[in-house]
Amino acid sequence: MKPLRVTSHSIACAAGIGLPALSAALRNRASGLRLNDFGESPLATWIGRVAGVEDVRLPDHLLEWDCRNSRLAWMGLNSDGFLERAVAARNRYGADRVALVLGTSTSSIGATEEAYRRLLPDGQYPEDLRRPMAHTPHSTGDFVRAALAVEGVVVTVGTACSSSAKAFAQAERLMRLGIADAAIVGGVDSLCGSVLFGFNSLELVSPEPCRPFDVARRGISIGEAGGFALLERDGERGPWLLGYGESSDAHHMSSPHPQGLGARLAIEAAFESAGLTPDVVDYINLHGTASQRNDEVEARVVADLFPAATRASSTKGWTGHTLGAAGIVEAVITFLAMEGGFVPGTLNARELDPACGPQVRLSNEPADVRVALSNSFGFGGSNCALLFGRDAHA
């Protein structure tokens, strides 16, 4: 594929609201995880909760979409000057020439959960929650469409934890065929009962802060985040999307392929689309959820495919697993690594699983990151790997 430039990006996650805050947290190894205080009867686990989401007040013309997910999206849009740059792009290209492709796993379901907790005696929704666009999977995409007043293709991708990574792929295809001249991609997922109690029911939730790739890891820490990226064919600054690969495991709804076959196919497809080989990769941001199966399988795949010198880490010890937003959060972290000349290690992990090769690093290290890979794997066996470059040609 012809590389696309990421001319602007933004982030709001537990480890930092805005790029400078996230960069500082990564460098200082300051985790954003905290003991679960979400909801009325919180499970004994740790979460990546974004401070201040409850206090966000949406502009009046966007109140139709008001819910935790939209507020988190609003925080992400208002971070790092993204909103202004997205609006400028809209005005430059024309509102219907800018595509919007956003990923989420649970979208606005938190608002539906709240309505069910507060049903009126006659079984009706409370009046303040009688807003259809806050109770539908497309809530996320439609809110951002309204917030940015874009009129191009608008889609919400829901492939669980690969959602916002796959948004980059879908947007690239739309731009390649000339259906859009620019695209806003990203994802938003917010804490809600469905994911906290749902992952708990699958016994995947850790009672302590998650420890990706640790031999004694005990499961995931669920997080929330909103992040965005503006893709253009060229621009004055910003990293480049060099390639991507997608695949399906065809194995199990909630467990990865035991040999990581789907993950391999996605990574290999990313190299093929970029015309690159694994030896050019300086840093891999791993999916690394700290679940038993994911980390074991992913560690083996990386050990097999990459040279020993490639640095790899999971950053979920900082952010938690932000589910449908993981793709954009971790894309943004690879951008920080490219710009900042360092790679984050794997926070909270102390002793690596023996399945790990020499690639997986615990400590932060200074490094010249020219090419980075970001892995996202989701429930239902949906895999996506993104390749980014500091320059258009690696």
Binding site: S41, L43, D96, R97, S105, T112, E113, A115, Y116, R117, L119, Q124, Y125, R130, R131, P132, M133, H135, T136, P137, H138, G141, D142, R145, E151, G152, V153, V154, V155, T156, V157, G158, T159, A160, K166, Q170, R173, L177, I179, G193, S194, F197, F199, N200, S201, L202, E246, S248, D249, A250, H252, M253, S254, L261, G262, L265, F379, G380, G381, S382
Partner: protein, 278 residues
Amino acid sequence: MPESMAPPYTAFVEGVALWAPRIPGWSVARPVLRGESEAQAQPAPRPAPVLLAPTERRRAPDTVAIALEVAVGACENAGADPRELASVFACTEGDLAISDYMSETLARTPTLISPTRFHNSVHNAAAGYWTIGTGCMRPYTALSAHRYTFGEGLLEALVQAESNGRATLLVAYDIESRGPLATMAPSRGIVGAAVIVTPTAGARSLARIRWSTARGTERTAPLPRNAELVAGNAMAACLPFFEAIAIQEDRTVRLGLNQSLSLEVHFEFPTRDDGRRP
């Protein structure tokens, strides 16, 4: 005339399937859409997905059952190997029954959430079961776009076929809403629709289409005699596309992509020697 936004691209329709309670399957639906027969009076029971093991078949959510039914139907209609197909799963509201169950259980006894229902609640559950059931390792995606879900889903399937040069399966479906959520996300009955699109003509091509995106709010309405077959379902907007394939007359179908943008699909039905009809 609407203003075309992107160069028109060519694609071929290789196989279709359509399921609604009174037209359960393409062989039943096609003559009804053509006005040659009546829809059945009694609604059919929900389909049983043959791709799943018998024990899973009974427990499968409605979204999975309908999606697998039409996905299998389109592959059979096209004579296509499912393992060779990339796929796009488009669903407006997700599994409304599971959303109702999850929200109600969370309000009362959150620690009793069923792990199976939780992993079936993801928007890509049907796509996951499809790839597991067929052994397909090609990529799928799962998307929604509220009232424009069918148009956006078809666009993504056409875009994938054109940009990857590979046959792509679109599976579009919505089910009946339940409980209090039904007041916010109304949807009646079960509707599923599937189509395989390819960038090049095959021996079994049903139609050649020229497609483009265009400004404009004009949208093709279903024929009045057919509209009731899917009325009230959140995927009702799929009908004009399948009417065009059933009726087999050259025409342009305009599907909404958003408030101001359309997907224009111009159908051409070349004269065929073998007399094969969709």
